[in-house]
Symmetry: C2
Subunit: 226 residues, 2 copies
């Protein structure tokens, strides 16, 4: 049995959850607040970060997977069904480039400041967010939506001709920014049409149904028409 | 013919160069200063970051690979010789976890501040570095050397039983920190013995021979006995 240690508003956890749902990997969920640095958790992942996956039904030592890229690459190798990286070297390179784009650039420029100001400061420290940081994250989010529009004017999916891991990574990161009221969708029709299609997928809907106590998302968050 | 756009003190470029040398992929080097954001460079990689690889002898469209993880995964798939990720799912997960550790944690905690203060501020802006930032990077570097010691007291290589991509990533990142005088090796015997073995490899020596004009490394930098 696989167990996934995740945090509801962790975009890397969401990327793994969406990918596991698409690939049909059943798993148990364990909610982990990574900033608490539980000793049992850092014993599994010395980086102290979500997501972590652990398989315990193997008889021998448990298989522990840390880091969302190591996790998704593992399941690409282990399960041939529903390949998410693409069929050609070009497609795979482009998918991996964009996954890194969202995991690193979008995360650093948009989600890390939003999570620090709107989630951690508010829900954990009970303090006031820094408006300047939030406005700057909003400006960066708008540039990212422009780039997504640019891509979707040239291809059917963010990954390319087919839905794939770059769409999953983009949806995971955007959904966290959207939960934290960091996205202004008006004027981004291609991105909106794409995200509406993602939101209607049964493999994505469970993510949209989750709430963090004391921190509700804006009303449009789980609507197909937003 | 493959061409690699790299920057001498970019640890991600060094990781790719060391991996290509071990796998025997011949390539041309082009020195790129990523902060200059040359339009021809950002046309290849919208993230504007080194490393980028481009293959131009295919007749059709050039194959462009952006992001060091996408590049190393590409060559693992394309060339079966000298596998660098490990043979079992456990070994591959552990190697990818540690590559992410060095690319993200070591980079953010040690190399990003050292590169900003000692390379960019000094060599590009001609300004004075922030001593507090450099001391903090040094403290983090020491914790990373402790972790490397811990691993090497339990296994032959950082990747596990065999030399692999985690050793390459670690050597790439450590060599940049060492060039920027950010590492205090005393008291880290396991890490020192391992790094001395890495330094003696003919596939790594060309990296150690390179210099950035106006920014010499400390005298011990390319010595086997340090
Ligand atoms: N490279 C990791 C990044 C994971 C990450 O940054 N997780 C965040 C939550 S979104 C975390 O656990 N932060 C706590 C910390 O870094 O101490 C991955 O792709 O899984
Ligand atoms: N995820 C990228 C990171 C590459 C990276 O951060 N490169 C730095 C140089 S060490 C860079 O180009 N920085 C310029 C910038 O980010 O604008 C990779 O693994 O290749």
């Amino acid at each position: 049995m696989w167990r996934l240690y995740h945090f509801t508003l962790c975009p890397f956890s969401r990327k793994v959850r969406f990918a596991l749902a698409v690939k049909g990997v059943t798993h148990e969920l364990v909610q982990e607040r990574p900033w608490e640095k539980r000793p049992e958790f850092t014993a599994m992942n010395p980086a102290g970060q979500t997501p972590v996956m652990r398989r315990s039904d193997l008889g021998g030592t448990d298989l522990i997977l840390c880091d969302s890229v190591a996790i998704t690459e593992h399941f690409e190798e282990a399960l041939e069904r529903t390949p998410l990286l693409g069929a050609t070297p070009e497609a795979r390179a482009e998918t991996r480039r964009l996954v890194a784009w969202f995991d690193q650039k979008f995360y650093a420029e948009v989600n890390a400041p939003l999570l620090a100001e709107r989630m951690y400061k508010r829900a954990v420290l009970k303090g006031a967010p820094d408006g300047g940081m939030i406005r700057q994250a909003g400006r960066m989010a708008d540039m990212h939506l422009d780039y997504i529009d640019f891509l979707l004017e040239r291809r059917a999916w963010i990954s390319g001709g087919q839905f794939g891991l770059a769409d999953i990574a983009a949806a995971a990161h955007l959904s966290v920014a959207d939960y934290l009221a960091g996205l202004e969708w008006d004027g981004h029709e291609p991105a909106k049409t794409w995200y509406s299609a993602i939101k209607s997928r049964p493999t994505f809907r469970p993510l949209l149904a989750e709430r963090l106590e004391g921190l509700p998302p804006p009303p449009h968050y789980d609507k197909l028409d937003f």
